[in-house]
């Protein structure tokens, strides 16, 4: 058996058991320790009655095998970019650099939603040893769209004055005077060069709305939320 397979097998086996304690123990696992009530982790494996300790759980081996089948072995998958969730801090940075007031007090403002949206956006909980999630969830995607929907008017208004969207001393408008999307506006909003397809999609969203203003806000929110779903 190759060493890597050997390690994997040993790891899988270790995940399903724990050490016995002879005759001296009575189910006193880690979390029975006075004052240590807060140190269990969600994926801990429980010890059996009278004869095992609680041990930390590990990654789901079946999920891993499924991922291997989908993404290929690490020799390949590790060389391909993944699409992790945008981190909580980076969402704030993007909002701020694109003209959103993160300190806004209105409970319908984008800043308020971001400040109070850390759990839904998968922010880390380091005080309980939990890293920021890299997984995109329905809740995080929905919250992100809510935030960009509320941020859209601020972004549209601020864009011509934003340093991030200024080229050669000239600011960028998100929309022309006629209400059409601009290719530079889309690029500054999404962080990648805009294509004709982007432009057509943006204009379609503007044109199909009941009013131009609503259409522009929907277009900005949709483009931003889609582009920033992952990094």
């Amino acid at each position: 058996m190759k060493p890597t397979k050997y390690i994997l097998l040993a790891f899988a086996l270790a995940s399903f058991g724990a050490c016995t304690d002879g005759d001296t123990l009575g189910g006193n696992d880690v979390d029975d320790t006075p004052g240590n009530d807060d140190i269990s982790e969600p994926d801990d494996t429980s010890g059996g009655e009278d004869n095992t300790f609680e041990h930390p759980g590990g990654p789901d081996i079946w999920d891993y095998l499924e991922r291997l089948a989908e993404e290929g072995p690490p020799e390949f998958s590790s060389r391909m970019h993944s699409c992790p969730k945008m981190t909580y801090e980076r969402i704030g940075n993007i909002l701020q650099s694109r003209g959103v007031d993160l300190n806004a007090q209105s409970d319908l403002s984008a800043g308020f939603l971001w400040r109070n949206g850390a759990p839904a956006l998968g922010a880390p909980k380091l005080e309980v040893r939990s890293r920021e999630s890299t997984e995109i969830t329905t809740a995080s995607a929905a919250k992100l769209f809510d935030i960009f929907a509320q941020a859209a008017p601020e972004i549209i208004t601020a864009m011509p004055t934003l340093a991030a969207c200024t080229v050669g001393g000239v600011g960028t408008e998100m929309f022309t005077a006629e209400g059409a999307c601009t290719i530079d506006g889309i690029a500054c909003l999404t962080g990648v060069p805009a294509t004709v397809a982007h432009l057509e999609l943006c204009n379609e969203m503007v044109n199909r709305a009941s009013t131009t203003t609503k259409g522009q806000e929907i277009a900005v929110a949709a483009l931003a939320a889609a582009a920033h779903t992952c990094e």
């Binding site: 270790a14 002879g22 006193n28 880690v30 993404e71 020799e75 040893r129 060069p193 990094e231």
Partner: protein, 395 residues
Amino acid sequence: MNKAKTWSAAFALLLGLSACSGDPQTQGNGPGDDPGSVDAGPTEDAAPELTPFEEALEEREYDYSAALRIAALRLTGDLPTLTQLKSIETAGDQKSTYEALVSAYIADPRFADTQVEFWKNTFKMGGSAELDSAGVLAAQLVVEGRPLTELLTATTGTCPTYDPNTQIFTPVDCDNGVAVHAGLLTHPGMNAHFTSNMAFRRVRWVQETFACTAFPAELAPEPEALSDTALYTAPWEFTSISGIANGGDIDFLDYESVVCANCHATMNHMAPLFGYFDDLGILSGEIAVPKPVDGNPPTALIDWLPDGETTGWRVDAPAADLPALGAVMSADPRVAECSVARAWNWAMGKGDIVDTLAAVPQAVFETQYNDFIANGYDYKELLYQVFTSDDFVQF
């Protein structure tokens, strides 16, 4: 930065790809190959059949604009500016323009912010000044171009502070009763945050953070059969750790359900070094971690190791105290590989290498690893190498 190194990386990766694809002599007519070369190309007999995964790699295309967005987000925490996007679009030499922008991102003051965020997340420590200081120390080493091994060996300034408004790091000595510090190994926040029975949570954190694998950490060349169904796989003598039979209260020599010693052989040789920190991370003159038996008394040395056994990082790497542990760890190539793998995974958007089993074969980052060693464990330089690697700029 060094253009030659980048080409070396590309060449090495191409070689690596060939090595993974069967007979290397039949390879060579990939999309980027010179059509005028003398290679006659694959014949019907010799043509290797690519797996779908190999085809996906072959079909990637260079996209410096897409790479710039990711690099900007990871290195500065924000999107690239419109001016930067246009500079890539209009550049005659997109590669050089991209590399210059990556250098600028790493020199940007915001790089310190993203490093603090990255390391706090990596360490799973934050939320108070003391816990933050572990990630801040790592970020300080990176930003200042100091060897990352100081995470395990630094004797002073191991509880620094960071002002996100000015991006200034201020060295502060940890004050937890330790005479000679060893980077994060003696850090009060780490020892408090990962306190547990018998110091095993601290040991696990050290293993997973710096060696990038869960336990079991060591494998013997040949496993030893303990029974018809139980294999002992660690390289230590089976009885080198405690059990009921040799004086301990916990039977780490049990193998009825699983072989405890497969993991605990390594763990028990390391745990006593961390056992003298109490639940606040303060060093005590006595063993200060409880034992999970009735009454939760303090652990005794005999509960980890029988008489005569000594502590260590690995079977061939003894360590009498935490500074010695830091020294042997920082000399372990697997610890350096782990650092490079973490940088690689961060750049490529992967989950945690241990929690999500996002393994990276050493061959994938061999060039960056060699440079990391040659550059004295300079993580800032490593990040430049990774973010400008051939794999990073292809999609």
